[in-house]
């Protein structure tokens, strides 16, 4: 696999940011041959599932231009705005988050890699390990 998405934490409260490292292995020498990969776009996306139509929205994003050899090793930070919804398992709907890395390939369909993440209420770190709502019984 040429792309790696390493997250410092899979859980983030609203108003804070997901941080981590984006790594892409070079797939050309950059001299005699240049990589087809031109850039990587990293997106934090919220989407719904359930009895309603899917609502999907990119909450924040970052772009990374690639070297001619197609390699990348960069830290990233994706903010979760204060007004964002939280991850939620409801009766008629679920609200889910993912971080997607989309590699812009020249003359080819873009490669995509994604990971599920969890957005919790402010003050929820160390309390949540699943989408809201909190189960009834504490430890």
């Amino acid at each position: 696999m040429t792309m790696g998405l390493e997250l410092d934490d899979l859980v983030c409260p609203v108003g804070y940011q997901f941080t981590g490292r984006l790594i892409r292995r070079a797939d050309a020498d950059g001299v005699s041959q240049t990589s087809k990969a031109r850039a990587v776009r990293l997106v934090l996306r919220v989407y719904t599932e359930g009895r309603g139509d899917v609502d999907k929205r990119d909450v924040s994003s970052s772009n990374f231009d690639l070297e001619p050899h197609g390699g990348l090793n960069a830290g990233f930070s994706l903010a979760v705005p204060q007004t964002s919804p939280i991850s939620y398992d409801g009766s008629l709907m679920r609200i889910r988050y993912e971080i997607e890395a989309r590699v812009d390939l020249k003359l080819a369909r873009d490669d995509r890699y994604s990971r599920q993440v969890l957005v919790v209420p402010e003050g929820g770190m160390g309390v949540y390990d699943r989408p809201h709502p909190l189960p009834l019984r504490p430890v």
């Binding site: 309603g52 919804p85 009766s91 008629l92 929820g124 309390v127 809201h132």
Partner: protein, 212 residues
């Protein structure tokens, strides 16, 4: 009737819905009902049915209708910042009479609701399913003051059911409070007030906080 300034950090909210809409609804449905009744039962029986229905409605609604005419629509004093998940805020219900009245103590019943609304569209056919995922009843004592009828009500915003207020094109989570009052010379009506719940966890639920 004096209008005291609001405490800092609070807002006054009006109820949603209006008498005008109800009257409009009645104004549209009544002629249709009359036409259908005439078609099925004839003019004579339609008049009889209308008189009987009107009399029954008047008997049932007389006190409430008269009382409604004596009172303005209520307001609710809320925090200007949304309420955290798991919080137990106190809101203030106010209702002023249109003229000076001797207001006896009464009970103000309140139902806090969290409702999910999911809208599904096929072509241009739209269906919205709604489900109440949380309900909490509470009550307060309404007392007569220089500002009219005032009641403080404690709400229980759940951390275990429902979600923060949310509005997306096809998916919504709405919190609202349904308030009704009961007592002599008081209108038997219910009003609904939207409240905002934030994606913030109340301090009592946060990691590291111990019961004393």
């Amino acid at each position: 009737m004096t209008n005291a300034p609001l405490p800092p950090g609070t807002v006054l909210r009006d109820p949603i819905g209006s008498l005008g809409k109800r009257l409009l609804g009645f104004g549209i449905s009544a002629p249709i009902t009359v036409v259908l009744s005439v078609a099925f039962f004839g003019v004579r029986w339609t008049i009889v049915l209308a008189l009987v229905a009107g009399g029954l409605l008047a008997m049932i609604a007389k006190d409430s209708l008269l009382a409604s005419l004596r009172w303005n629509r209520p307001t609710m004093q809320l925090s200007s910042t949304p309420y955290p998940l798991g919080s137990v805020p106190i809101v203030v219900y106010r209702r002023t009479p249109k003229r000076v009245l001797d207001i006896a103590s009464c009970t103000v019943e309140c139902l806090l609701v969290c409702e999910e609304r999911a809208t599904y569209t096929r072509g241009t056919d739209t269906t919205t399913d709604t489900r109440r995922v949380y309900e909490s009843q509470s009550s307060g004592v309404g007392e007569g003051t220089a500002e009219g009828l005032v009641a403080e009500i404690e709400l229980n915003v759940s951390a275990h059911m429902g979600a923060p207020s949310l509005k997306l094109p096809s998916n919504e989570v709405v919190w609202f409070v349904e308030v009704g009052i009961s007592g002599p010379q008081l209108p038997r009506d219910t009003h609904r007030f939207i409240i905002d719940v934030a994606a913030v966890l109340d301090p009592t639920y946060r990691a590291g906080v111990q019961d004393s």
